[in-house]
Symmetry: C2
Subunit: 432 residues, 2 copies
């Protein structure tokens, strides 16, 4: 790279165009901070005609040509999706070319193999933009907290669902209304399932769990519930008790196993995560020495994501200029990620909010309490409201095993006086 670091770009959608814009507009500052100017090399797009006016001299519709170009020092992958990104990134890393990617699906599914490939070839693989967009969380976890031990990570990692839950909470609207509002504003896709069913958050949870605990956790290992079942009644009950409802991604380590789960949860209104509104993201980290930390910001959007990509490019440039990719001993350590097993979600310690529709007759509370008692699930508080024939019974448990909670719910469903288990939400982040 005699006259600058050459960046090959895979994809020129909104994020790719944002990267090009930052490289152009902030060129001087980037050169100072990276220690070398950055030059845009080949750019691969699907439809040449659509991007012909973007002033990209080396436009191509062959992504393999970008990865194979001899003058490319680092490949930026912002095309998204597992295939063909996986083959392209693999090919770049195999030839020792560093890669910066914003691709959460790719890293969540194949991060361990790609990290091992990078380690073997001496290339860098950076993916700050894959989790929480413009919010620095990968580097803080991997470097700033390198000397600490992370106990637990709680994240609001999906802006769409956080926007929907914020609207439901502040406007007392239904899930359907809030979703329609999010779609109107462009926060939610026409098919919103990747967001509202928690798939997107689960991918990010897998990445954070792998990093925080030096483990290999894929999105398939993450227990997942979306927010489609959350009702305005749940949100109102939660508010009355001093909680807000958030879709949380949780990564934790206990008894030598790593657990990762995504589900809606009641969070105390005084908890820093409760103040994360609208489409914002936040990651709350409990470090053994550092204590509670939180990282907050825009989790999506072209420019925040592009900012994270260019930050990674500067990191790669500095490493390349230092004459080498990461230290070999570290590479060896990285190439063999610790085989920390993944925990069954049934072993997770949870606290639950359980809303039941029950018959409004004597003995119901005794029967319900008995079902909890059979599995030694201890009840912290109970609230009952009669409605004539039926009543609503709301219970908050003390901390218990997820497995015991599920067995209790199964038992409750068999009770003749329990008409419906209307809602089950976990409670995280302490007492309200």
């Amino acid at each position: 790279m005699p006259d600058g670091l050459v960046v090959g770009l895979l994809g020129h959608g909104t994020v790719g165009a944002g990267v090009v814009r930052l490289l152009r507009e902030h060129a001087d500052q980037i050169a100072v901070r990276a220690g070398v100017p950055m030059r845009l090399g080949p750019v691969a797009v699907r439809d040449l005609a659509r991007h012909s006016g973007a002033g990209l001299p080396r436009l191509t519709d062959d992504p393999r040509a970008v990865v194979a170009a001899e003058d490319v020092d680092v490949v930026v992958e912002v095309m998204g999706g597992v295939d063909p990104a996986r083959a392209l990134v693999t090919s770049a890393l195999q030839r020792g070319c560093s890669v910066v990617t914003a691709n959460k699906a790719l890293i969540a599914r194949h991060g361990a193999q790609l990290r091992a490939l990078a380690a073997a070839s001496g290339a860098r693989l950076e993916y700050e933009a894959a989790v929480a967009g413009g919010v620095p969380i990968i580097k803080p976890l991997r470097e700033s907290l390198a000397g600490d031990r992370v106990r637990r990570v709680l994240g609001i990692l999906n802006g769409t669902t956080n926007y929907i839950l914020t609207r439901m909470s502040e406007d007392a609207g239904s899930f359907a209304d809030a979703l329609a509002d999010a779609q109107r504003l462009g926060y939610a896709e026409a098919d919103p399932s990747a967001d509202v069913e928690g798939h997107d958050a689960a991918q990010k949870a897998a990445i954070l769990a792998s990093l925080a605990f030096d483990a290999t956790v894929t999105d398939a290992d993450v227990y997942r519930e979306g927010i489609t079942g959350v009702t305005t009644t749940d949100i109102a009950h939660a508010a009355r008790m001093g909680y807000v409802v958030k879709l949380l991604a949780i990564a934790e380590q206990a008894d030598g196993r790593v657990g990762a789960r995504v589900h809606p949860a009641l969070v105390p209104a005084s908890h820093p995560l409760a103040a994360v509104r609208d489409a914002y993201n936040a990651v709350f980290v409990e470090g053994e020495a550092a204590g509670s930390l939180m990282f907050y910001g825009r989790g999506a959007g072209a420019m925040p994501t592009a900012s994270a990509v260019v930050g990674d490019l500067v990191t790669v440039a500095r490493a390349l200029l230092a004459g080498e990719a990461p230290p070999k001993t570290l590479l060896r350590a990285r190439a063999e990620p610790a085989q920390v097993p993944v925990a069954d979600v049934a072993t997770a310690v949870v606290q639950a909010y359980v809303l039941l529709d029950v018959a409004d007759e004597p003995g119901v509370l005794a029967a319900v309490a008995g079902a909890f008692g059979e599995r030694s699930v201890s009840i912290r508080s109970v609230w009952q409201e009669g409605r004539g024939e039926t009543a609503q019974l709301l219970l908050i448990t003390h901390a218990t095993l997820e497995g015991d909670l599920r067995a209790t719910l199964d038992r409750l469903r068999t009770l003749p006086t329990v008409r419906d288990v209307a809602s089950v939400l976990r409670v995280e982040g302490g007492e309200a």
Copy 2:
């Protein structure tokens, strides 16, 4: 460093002891993440007898011996204070030995010279722990946001004053009561002036301003007001209007100049900084591309600070293993920090809360409004409460120049109907 990186320690107070504890208890994890084991070398203390039971085999009362020791790869400076830390750190850097320091006073005063020394000798100088304790903010500003442009940094950087303001706000107690409470809990010193007069926050503001804007800002350049003048009346007025009062450190760039100031300010209750309670710290960064980011956590305490120091040690170890300190071209860039001039605080754009004790008679409002009008300071809202002979008049201005605000206040003091300018606070972070 054939069998490990040797760490020389200057100071073995609570932070130093925390560093030793992390190096011992997390030794395996640190070796994997750093790529090399870390070994504790010589440790300098003032009073040998006091530390003789700490199991430190190379204890000395001569800090120069630590800096001069041939086998020491990196010096950790946690003694605090400008002297003799400055001479010791200078001496280490001059001989090419990397330094990790938690010393905010030293970096705020002499950071530019020390960074230049490191650049010249190829050593690393890391100081994550100097600002906001265990919260990663230096590395995110320097690396993750390297491709972005920072517009403004708003920080709650002093835990003691944030604790005092939280108590005044939530318990409606006086400053004196809240200070006594903070002293009882060990959050405030017997002589609390470094905290309550804003000196500590000003040092951290200088460091953040220098980093965010590639400038040379020392603590002497920071405009500073403490919280001793904040009253329960101010806090109650602020709350009624939807604001909380915080001691803010502000670094901003406008018209090619960098400004840094520390003063109490009204922050909208909906702003993420408003939710930062008790002794917590937070840094809110407005990036051009990344948007609003916030970093939150424990700003002080032995273990959070030690966690940041050990994170820096891992960074240094990886750089040393990569065969070199930072790239030479970058070093050259760093050795000559951009000569961005420091702005006069009179040119800062501020919004103000002004509380006046006035005579309760006709024409007062017209006279007061006239004083604001003379300097074209526009008034956003006015609130008046009669108390018999006198009245309280509360005004919130629109955005104006600090210089015009001051001239207006001087003019108000000359008006016969204005008995007292009781309080002047800035308003930051938008409308409530």
